[in-house]
Symmetry: C2
Subunit: 192 residues, 2 copies
């Protein structure tokens, strides 16, 4: 069942569809030393009929180590055209070659297939974040679209708390949504 | 002395000057329960001749409680026109009415004065994030530009680690900068 924040989010995506970077969001995680980390990732749509947001990442990236320590993430998503912000917090689930669930493995294969050649090639690059390797090739032959590289990770964010701020309007408006233990979403208007 | 990442950051600001939202950044902090938080804030320039980034916030906002628990923050700054990202991590220092340092108090007064009437008025709004108060006024008379409201906070980020990723170029390029105990900045090219 679609969560109640899906409808305003779909509207924001529509209003900002002219901007390719309106699908770029900032994902915060927590480092093993307890300090925050923050980077831009590309929204890849929702997992099938669920409310889980899809991203892709490299198992060699730092954020994978963060998730062992603290699986929670928070996405901040600002939409420039409509001047609104969504904050989506919840557990992050990495789907890798080692994942057991067959339906998730299938989603990983489909996601790999749906990437561009350029995006797939990045997973064949030298170890990200390591000192620049002058020998390393950054133009490897394009990987097989039907066979995800072992370091390819489909990353799922399952929001349990969402904060929607609309800067347009006088006054501004702000709504909080949170998932209850019963599985029902609650919604409340809060002061902006 | 200007840190070595100031020059590429100044260039990015120049290349993106047509976009008002190129001065909006995402600031990650850590909640008292150890989970990350992430929200958009407006870059207000650098503090005098230092490398500290200025933001403003409300002492009633959640992020102030986060800083008691974990003073570290990380800003993610994506520039759409030039397709590059800066990640800036370091301690956050709130400058409030209770701050003792006279030069910081002066910076707080100047920052308050430099805000628009609309921005100053937000500090006279009802408690942010609390259930929407139907009686609350969101159009109070504009506060005195020469007298910061008690809940006005100048927030300083003193970066000690910066990661600069440029998506343009084939291959992409990525540089890490970090502040050593000696007070000198180190720089290293890393794999994108």
């Amino acid at each position: 069942m679609l969560a109640p924040w899906r409808s305003p989010l779909a509207r924001a995506l529509h209003l900002n569809r002219s901007l390719v970077y309106a699908r770029y969001v900032q994902l915060a995680t927590v480092r093993p030393d307890g300090r925050p980390a923050n980077r831009t990732v590309v929204f890849r749509g929702f997992l099938n009929e669920t409310n889980a947001l899809k991203f892709v990442t490299d198992t060699r990236s730092e954020k994978m180590a963060h998730l062992h320590h603290q699986p929670w993430g928070e996405v901040c998503w600002y939409f420039p055209n409509s001047r609104e912000q969504f904050r989506l917090g919840g557990p992050l689930t990495p789907v890798t070659a080692d994942t057991v669930d067959e339906s998730l493995l299938k989603a990983r294969r489909i996601q790999w297939h749906d990437l561009s050649n350029a995006a797939r090639s990045q997973f064949a690059w030298a170890n990200p974040g390591h000192p620049r390797d002058p020998q390393a090739s950054f133009s490897p032959p394009p990987p097989d679209p039907n066979q995800p590289l072992p370091n390819f990770c489909l990353l799922l964010l399952q929001p349990v708390e969402v904060d929607h701020l609309q800067l347009r309007g006088d006054p501004q408006s702000r709504d909080r949504y949170w998932l209850q233990e019963s599985g029902e979403w609650q919604q409340q208007a809060v002061n902006p």
